[in-house]
């Protein structure tokens, strides 16, 4: 059966672990000619430099070729072509479709139509499963395990889709969750539901300092002003969730700080030179994970 990855929940725990193991091999050697003769459609209906270049690098380093677009303005979509028709056409030319689209649910819809394997590279505010895979890989590589970890999520836990996917995915690994956010941006109950369902411990904080000494991983996210109804509330909290190097004195030796990037000011540059900073390596891991994922979905083992 044709494989799709629309949401991280489409994969079983075993499938996730398998892809992460494959990613390790690509980290050892990312240049392999195993996608020779494969043509992959990379369709970006809205710009996203980081994700698109990461996918394209992953394909090209494996010898695959690419067709597609990086924004929708110069395509037949502007002439009013439906997403369904675009996918129906392109899947006749290519071996796989990778798509980013601003509409929520566009990925599920496209995956149903596509006759070739489909990867969601972000559908609106809904899902971005390859980010989740690279987050999992980064945790695995820095801690040598995914099991029994203390993970602290900081910032916008209400709207951050990367947080929601990662929380859900980590409930399979006996995680203890530390949730640090302003009251307005607490983790939604629909996501907490998965923690509770798995009977895992979680603690909520308003101050980041309280959670730092307990953490194996600190996952930082950006708090956006437009999320606040009251600008005064934003002004009050905006500096409370910024990580500085001097806050990382009483920490576990294995602590690593992750961030989906791009950061604005939530991680002070002073953190970059500490042994705890991992966010740039994390972005690099996106390459290996995407190489592994593409090969897995095409049925190519390494």
């Amino acid at each position: 059966m044709k494989k799709n990855l629309v949401s991280i929940n489409d994969f079983t725990k075993d499938e996730i672990l398998h892809v992460l193991e494959m990613a390790k091999k690509f980290e050892e050697n990312p240049d392999r000619s195993i996608l020779n003769g494969k043509l992959i459609a990379v369709l970006f209906y809205e710009p996203s430099t980081r994700t698109r270049l990461s996918f394209e690098s992953a394909i090209q380093r494996l010898g695959g070729r690419i067709v597609g677009f990086s924004e929708a303005t110069n395509t037949s979509i502007r002439k009013g072509e439906s997403l369904g028709d675009t996918i129906r056409t392109i899947n006749q030319y290519t071996d796989m479709i990778i798509m980013r689209n601003p509409y929520d649910g566009s990925a599920r819809y496209a995956s149903e139509i596509s006759t070739v394997p489909f990867i969601n590279a972000g559908d609106g505010s809904n899902q971005h499963p390859t980010q989740c895979l690279l987050d999992l890989y980064s945790i695995l590589q820095t801690q040598n395990t995914l099991d029994n970890l203390n993970i602290t999520f900081v910032g916008d836990l209400k709207y951050g889709r990367t947080v929601h996917s990662l929380v859900k995915a980590m409930t399979d690994f006996n995680t203890t969750f530390h949730l640090v956010s302003p009251l307005e941006l607490k983790l939604p109950s629909a996501v907490k539901y998965y923690i509770k369902k798995n009977k895992l411990p979680y603690y909520q904080y308003e101050k980041i300092e309280d959670a730092i000494p307990l953490s194996d991983i600190i996952y930082m996210t950006r708090i956006q002003q437009e999320r606040f109804v009251d600008p005064v509330e934003y002004e009050k909290v905006k500096n409370s969730y910024i990580l500085h190097a001097n806050m990382l004195t009483n920490v576990k030796p294995n602590l690593k700080v992750l961030h989906p990037l791009p950061r604005v000011n939530e991680i002070d540059p002073s953190v970059d030179s500490t042994p705890y900073a991992y966010y740039f390596q994390q972005a690099k891991n996106g390459l290996y994970v995407r190489q592994a994922l593409i090969c897995y979905m095409l049925g190519i083992e390494v």
């Binding site: 509409y103 929520d104 599920r108 819809y109 505010s125 899902q127």
Partner: protein, 156 residues
């Protein structure tokens, strides 16, 4: 039992032919009416609200003359009024009495509440999973994965 039931019906008006939608939860009678597009119906229909009910405390009831509902309409009733009973009547006799059943999936009946959902931006049949968490009924869009409450249902 049967006599008592008929007496209550007579409080509104007996139907010769048609359908009685009984045991509608208090407060959603008008929502049921709108979902069935009865505002455009050109035969007689009756509404009752705040009626005493042994089972439910207060309930609502709708009686529609010369009309028998299709499966799709009955599914709509089930979504808004999961306790409802559908009673079909011919020549003052009850010919069929069924309790509505909450479906597991709702296909093509309702609109997704999320304006950024692909189903609101392209011609796609909507699809929702019905989540029944301790009688707190919610609908999760199969596409955008957003969940909406019963009160927010908008029928297509």
């Amino acid at each position: 039992m049967k006599d008592k039931y008929n007496k209550k019906e007579l409080k509104v008006s007996a139907l010769e032919n048609g359908t009685v939608i009984d045991h509608i939860p208090q407060g959603v009678v008008l929502q049921v009416l709108r979902a069935l597009h009865l505002e455009n119906f050109d035969d007689a229909f009756y509404l009752g609200s705040n009626l005493d009910s042994k089972k439910m405390g207060k309930k609502g009831i709708i009686k529609v003359s010369n009309k028998y509902f299709e499966k799709e309409d009955i599914n709509k009733i089930a979504l808004i009024a999961p306790t409802a009973t559908i009673i079909e009547i011919k020549e003052y006799e009850i010919i069929k009495k069924t309790k509505v059943e909450l479906p597991k999936e709702v296909i093509g009946l309702v609109k997704c509440i999320n304006p950024n959902c692909i189903t609101n931006n392209e011609q796609i049949t909507t699809k929702f999973e019905v989540l029944n968490d301790f009688d707190d009924i919610k609908f999760r869009c199969y596409y955008c994965e957003k969940t909406m409450k019963k009160e927010n249902l908008e029928f297509l």
